[in-house]
């Protein structure tokens, strides 16, 4: 190993990077833009569902119930048709997602101490909207019922089970708090792998790789020289993206900075190594891009980034352990949201370290084999 040759290789990479402003922008600017953009997408909690209220009762009770819906924040009343028949066209045109029908006689029923029937219609074509919409609607109605009973002087403290749900770690249930750490990891992975996968194959295509092998440069020197500049840029990228996540989206940072940095650094090495390996075994840039697609798609689907691992079929679940992002997500979500420390996250951090070790060994072998070829 010659430090002089490694320094020379690093100088060369940086000189080339300086002449490729697009690449630096791709590494430093794109992740920030993506994080902010996607951040708002994943943060879009289901609120302000467009709602129609058909009030056929025109009573105090019906108005009170309508107010409950309007003030909940989940429903925005955009239409007040006079008949139930008018709802269908509104639903068909997508103008409303939820409809509340208060039939005539509701007030009378309540006054007589009977149960009144209220109709809730939900557009089932979007399963998420329909589940959330009907859930919120029944919550509002049960709250209204309790209020009625209290008003009537009936004790609510009847025997029965009353669930007191307390959400730990993320009391506002804000999806952004778990999604931003995940996004940070996913965006880093995409941008690093996209760039690293081109790094060596570019030299193969331009013929400089062959020329390199007529020089005394060794495989390990070449890899270190190739890697260091990008690892430096990736660190910068990691800090910028994490800062944007914390400052812009106000993701509460409950954990130790050390855990997050170690986790991200190990994950970063894994991504760089994986990209490098793709680049080493590919013969053309196109091949490298295709290989990237083959890696990225299962990573996104199986890592728990989008779908929770716990709800995957038992046969599929072990596969998620083959994906570095799975562990990076556990580390980041744990450290960001729960403040989990090194001790509890040791298995995940060790897994990431193992990935990095295996991938880099494979890269050195691949480089050596390329020399022999």
């Amino acid at each position: 190993m010659s430090g002089k040759r490694i320094r020379l290789l690093i100088w060369k990479e940086f000189t080339q990077l300086k002449r490729d402003p697009m690449l630096v922008r791709l590494l430093l600017l794109m992740p920030v833009i993506q994080l902010i953009m996607f951040g708002y997408v994943v943060a879009a909690d289901i609120r302000h569902l467009s709602t129609a209220v058909v009030d056929l009762d025109h009573s105090v009770a019906s108005r009170a119930l309508t107010d409950q819906f309007a003030s909940s924040g989940y429903f925005t009343i955009n239409a007040r048709p006079t008949s139930e028949d008018d709802l269908r066209p509104l639903l068909d045109r997508g103008q409303i997602q939820v409809a509340v029908v208060i039939p005539a006689g509701t007030q009378d029923h309540l006054d007589r101490g009977e149960t009144a029937q209220i109709g809730i219609i939900v557009d089932g074509s979007d399963s998420q909207v329909s589940a959330v919409g009907s859930g919120y609607a029944s919550q509002i109605i049960s709250r209204y019922n309790r209020q009625l009973m209290t008003d009537a002087g009936i004790s609510v403290a009847a025997p029965g089970v009353d669930a007191q749900i307390r959400v730990m770690f993320n009391p506002t249930l804000d999806p952004i708090n778990t999604m931003i750490p995940g996004l940070i990891a996913a965006i880093m992975m995409i941008s690093l792998m996209a760039i690293m996968s081109q790094a060596v194959v570019k030299e193969r295509e331009s013929g400089t790789l062959e020329q390199m092998f007529v020089t005394p440069i060794r495989a390990s020197e070449y890899l270190i020289g190739k890697l260091t500049p990008y690892a430096g840029l990736a660190t910068l990228q990691m800090l910028i993206v994490a800062a944007v996540g914390i400052l812009w989206f106000r993701v509460p940072f409950n954990g130790q900075l050390g855990v997050v940095l170690v986790g991200l650094a190990l994950f970063m090495l894994t991504c760089i190594g994986l990209g490098l390996l793709v680049s080493l075994v590919s013969h053309t840039r196109q091949q490298a891009q295709q290989a990237m697609m083959f890696i990225m798609l299962p990573t996104m689907v199986l890592s728990g980034f989008i779908f929770p691992i716990a709800s995957m079929p038992p046969l599929i679940q072990p596969l998620t352990n083959l994906i570095p992002l799975t562990f990076a997500l556990e580390v980041l979500r744990g450290a960001f949201v729960k403040g989990t420390g090194f001790a509890a996250l040791a298995p995940q951090l060790l897994a990431l370290a193992a990935f990095a070790a295996v991938i880099f060994t494979a890269s050195i072998i691949a480089t050596r084999r390329r020399i022999a070829e």
Binding site: K4, R5, L8, K12, T15, Q16, R19, D20, S206, G207, T208, E210, Q211, M212, F213, V214, T215, P216, I217, A372, E373
Partner: protein, 320 residues
């Protein structure tokens, strides 16, 4: 330059063999290149020239056989071979986004050339090749001929004893080609050994030794004079008003070995005993009054055409 006594072998290869899948690129090939030679590897595309050069340059491992460069094995002693060779691949292989000076600097530093030597050599090489004013230009913005000269300059920065040049003049304009060979001639005078592959037959004349490769084997080798001497007879050019009719008539004459059209001329290889000019004029005279015959020098194109036609089907030809 390290001292190498003249006459010792710069390259010595025995039984080199390389296949790519089902294609045998180089078949059981022996090659000897003496120190100080300008050795031309001639042959059509796909003859195995690049594969042979890449094996000697240590970038490609042979499937079988062995090759030594200045007595060091290209497979087991790569570290002793690479400092003494300059390998110029067929494709442009400099960093396109680095400047001419930066490319030279990079490849020379990697090879351990000291700063003082780097600066003085880069200066003199760029000047002698007419690249000095383009030192700060990015390599990707150079013309084809300048790119080739940059690559040659880069292979010369560590002052190698053996240059391995894979088709350095392919796709280069005629002026640059001549200039390139002028540089090679000066390297030859400095005592360096050059192994150069080329598809151009006319470049063979500028070599001290040549080998003709075809389908992975050396078919002919020797000095250009030796190889020319293998063609019996004399070459004549016949000018006439109707070259095609003349060609048909010529072939029928006794003493004519072969004949073919060369532009508007008919080229005749004469192996007869009589004086060819008189015999041809006598034999053809009746058909065309405008007919002239003159003797021509045998060129490499003719030599290889003749040798290819007359060589036994697949036997390796006799070496020099």
């Amino acid at each position: 330059m390290q001292s190498t006594s003249p006459g010792t072998s710069a390259i010595s290869a025995r039984g080199l063999h390389k296949s790519f899948g089902a294609t045998e690129a180089v078949i059981d090939l022996d090659l000897d290149v003496a120190t100080g030679a300008v050795y031309g590897l001639l042959g059509p595309d796909g003859a195995g020239k690049s594969t042979l050069i890449r094996m000697i340059a240590t970038v490609l491992a042979p499937d079988a056989g062995a090759a030594e460069v200045f007595g060091h094995s290209v497979t087991d002693q790569r570290g002793k071979v690479t400092p003494r060779i300059g390998y110029m691949s067929q494709r442009f292989s400099m960093y396109p986004d680095l400047s001419v000076a930066e490319n030279l600097e990079f490849f020379a530093t990697v090879r351990g050339v000291g700063r003082a030597d780097r600066n003085s050599r880069a200066k003199s090489l760029l000047e002698s090749m007419g690249l000095a004013e383009f030192a700060d230009r990015q390599a990707q913005h150079l013309s084809g001929g300048m790119k080739q000269k940059l690559m040659l300059a880069s292979t010369l920065m560590h002052s190698p004893d053996l240059l391995l040049l894979d088709e350095p003049t392919t796709g280069v304009d005629p002026v640059s080609r001549r200039e390139f060979w002028r540089i090679l001639a000066s390297l030859h005078r400095e005592g360096r050994t050059v192994l150069v592959a080329t598809p151009y037959m006319d470049e063979a004349e500028r070599c001290t030794h040549i080998a003709f490769l075809d389908r992975g084997r050396i078919r002919q080798s020797g000095t250009p004079e030796q190889i020319k001497a293998r063609v019996p007879g004399r070459l004549l050019e016949v000018a006439s008003a109707e070259p095609r009719r003349t060609l048909a008539a010529v072939i029928a004459l006794p003493g004519v070995d072969s004949a073919h059209l060369f532009g508007d001329l008919v080229r005749v290889l004469w192996t007869g005993a009589a004086d060819p000019i008189e015999a041809l004029i006598a034999g053809l005279g009746g058909t065309d009054a405008s007919l002239t015959v003159r003797a021509a020098n045998i060129d490499m194109e003719t030599v290889f055409a003749y040798l290819a036609e007359n060589a036994p089907a697949d036997a390796a030809a006799v070496g020099s």
